[in-house]
């Protein structure tokens, strides 16, 4: 995946989690809604975080050419 | 109703037949939904096999038409499972459970391999025989209490015979492939991962649901 796609995915999942936590703290949404949002967004956050700090920006990685 | 899966979230009534969802059955329903979506969206994997005792390996060949049929069966299986998760009527539940059995046979029986077909045939016989305790259990409950509605039975006042609950559970165990027919590894080794997973998923889910029903009524 492209770096920009991954950055957007990471930002989206982080925003969902932050929004859910914030709205819950402000008592605007019930607990189960916040939990559902976090259960959906947390796996995406984990995967995108890993892909993001590994994702090459522009330059291609050196391919493996065998021992 | 006793507190088994939490309080009701949603009840859908068709006269005296109804569907109800507790946090427990909603969780199961969502799980069936997610894996049905995965079966619709994902392409089957290209399975590699090894020849034991050497370095050789070969790729299994699968045809598009076979996979198309199995995907259809997997989706039908997902729908039947979702129906069984929310059903508040014992007869509907037994129908959905037997439909899960039929579609499970369909998923594996389309594989063009001698071993898988043999296993599927034997499993099909088990699934057919299991419909006897399955519907027998529901019939016993109807005969002793006069109703098949789970909320009505749970409200109390009925002595549901233990043997009927045991029959129902036994029937579901026989319909589902994973819990007690799982040693037939041929079926789970068949190519087409998203579809094979529906077999084990649906049988676990109907088993989880019948446990809830047996405790509730």
């Amino acid at each position: 995946m492209k770096r920009t796609t991954i950055t957007y995915g990471l930002a989206a999942s982080a925003i969902v989690i932050a929004a859910a936590s914030g709205l819950l703290a402000a008592a605007l949404i019930p607990l189960w809604a916040a939990e559902t949002a976090i259960v959906i967004a947390f796996p995406a956050l984990v995967i995108f975080l890993g892909l993001w700090w590994r994702a090459p920006g522009g330059e291609e990685d050196i391919p493996f050419i065998g021992y | 109703m006793p507190d088994i899966g939490g309080s009701d979230l949603f009840v859908l009534e068709f006269g005296d037949i109804l569907h109800y969802y507790t946090p427990y059955t909603t969780t199961l329903f969502l799980f069936a939904l997610i894996f049905t979506a995965l079966a619709i969206l994902s392409r089957p994997e290209g399975q590699i096999d090894i020849a034991f005792g050497g370095d050789a390996y070969y790729a299994k060949e699968t045809t598009v038409s076979e996979m198309r049929f199995r995907r259809f069966m997997a989706i039908a299986c997902g729908l039947a499972t979702m129906g069984a998760m929310g059903s508040g009527d014992l007869f509907n539940f037994t129908l959905f459970a037997s439909l899960v059995g039929i579609t499970n046979v369909g998923i594996v029986a389309a594989v063009k391999s001698h071993h898988v077909l043999n296993a599927a045939y034997e499993y099909g016989i088990v699934a057919m025989v299991a419909t006897l305790p399955l519907f027998g259990g529901a019939a016993l409950i109807l005969a002793t209490t006069g109703t098949l509605s789970i909320p009505a039975l749970a409200a109390g006042g009925f002595a549901v015979p233990l043997v009927a609950k045991a029959f129902l559970t036994l029937g579901v165990i026989g319909e589902g492939m994973a819990p007690f027919y799982a040693a037939k590894a041929e079926m789970f080794r068949a190519p087409g991962a998203p579809y094979v997973i529906m077999c084990s998923l649906s049988s676990l889910l109907i088993f989880l649901r019948v446990v809830e029903i047996a405790i509730t009524i």
């Binding site: 989690i17 936590s21 819950l24 916040a34 939990e35 976090i38 259960v39 959906i40 947390f42 796996p43 995406a44 984990v46 995967i47 975080l49 890993g50 892909l51 700090w53 590994r54 990685d61 | 006793p2 507190d3 088994i4 899966g5 939490g6 507790t22 946090p23 427990y24 969780t27 199961l28 799980f31 997610i34 894996f35 995965l38 994902s42 392409r43 089957p44 994997e45 290209g46 399975q47 590699i48 090894i50 390996y57 994973a178 819990p179 799982a182 590894a185 789970f188 080794r189 190519p191 991962a193 998203p194 094979v196 997973i197 084990s200 998923l201 676990l204 989880l208 446990v211 809830e212 405790i215």
Partner: protein, 281 residues
């Protein structure tokens, strides 16, 4: 919310590291550092990642997300004191996730790991006996009601010890180096985990951390009752260390022996639940 998840994942991984350390010390080896599993998770997340050519791509990636999702949900269920049936449904469905990991790649090693995970379904049945036995006492399956019952009548560990032993064996069969860990045994490379590398493997580490934390936390809540959070962490560590001793001195069983022993345990537990049902008023 999110802080609970991060804490549970990190603490669970730390417990797994401690597990390896204790096993090593019992076997008179130095063993890896306690934080090794956390380092593993970080290391894998920095590795280059792609999807194998033979894999069913959507399923291959999807099961990682589903796996993290269900154990996050399980953590919330336990913390909120909801029905333990949901927790145990998630435990059983973890089997489907393992199966998905194994089959989705098309690799023979992963496939056999997945097949083994399906044939070891016998390990799940003691769970239902546990549930049924607890229900006979409490008439409710909400975790909050169960802890309230224990506050009045004392911990279940003393009321019904065989039930606690059954749950202990269930946790044992999910640990990576136990006698029942046939799904990731070394003759299958890493079993169902074999083909998930890089970020996907880091995701599996998060799943393992959450799973260990949730199962041990549920064990403490179910059999010891409501205790302060720090005390729960201490008790979880004690339970895990005792499990490590079991893992250190027992060999890994062959698949069919493992299933046979789990089946025998199930039979004993069914007899115990029947006995309870008979003597209860």
């Amino acid at each position: 919310m999110i802080e609970y998840l991060v804490f549970a994942a990190v603490f669970g991984l730390l417990l797994l590291g401690l597990h390896r350390k204790v096993i090593a010390r019992v076997q008179m080896r130095p063993g890896p550092p306690v934080w090794q599993e956390i380092l593993h998770a970080l290391k894998f997340s920095f590795k280059s990642t792609w999807v194998p050519k033979t894999a069913s791509a959507t399923l291959y990636v999807g099961v990682v997300l589903v796996g993290i999702g269900i154990w996050s949900a399980a953590l919330f269920v336990v913390l909120a004191g909801e029905s333990i049936l949901i927790l145990f449904a998630i435990y059983m469905l973890h089997k489907v996730v393992e199966h998905g990991f194994g089959l989705s790649s098309g690799s023979p090693y992963g496939k056999f790991g997945g097949v083994r995970s399906v044939i070891s379904a016998a390990s799940e049945i003691p769970l239902f006996v546990t549930i049924a036995a607890i229900y006979l006492f409490t008439e409710s399956l909400l975790l909050s009601d169960i802890t309230a019952y224990q506050a009045v009548h004392g911990p279940f560990l003393l009321i019904a010890p065989p039930v606690a032993i059954a749950m202990y064996l269930v946790i044992l069969s999910k640990l990576p180096y136990g006698p029942f860990s046939i799904v990731e045994s070394k003759e299958l490379v890493s079993g169902y985990k074999t083909e998930h590398f890089g970020v996907w493997r880091a995701g599996i580490s998060v799943i393992d951390g959450l799973k260990t934390f949730v199962l041990l936390f549920a064990f403490v809540a179910l059999f010891i009752g409501a205790v302060p959070f720090w005390a729960a962490l201490v008790l979880m560590t004690i339970v895990l260390v005792s499990l490590s001793f079991v893992c250190a001195v027992s060999p890994m069983l062959s698949p069919f022996d493992s299933v046979t022993i789990q089946g025998l345990i199930t039979g004993v537990m069914l007899a115990y639940a029947g006995y309870l049902w008979w003597v209860m008023p």
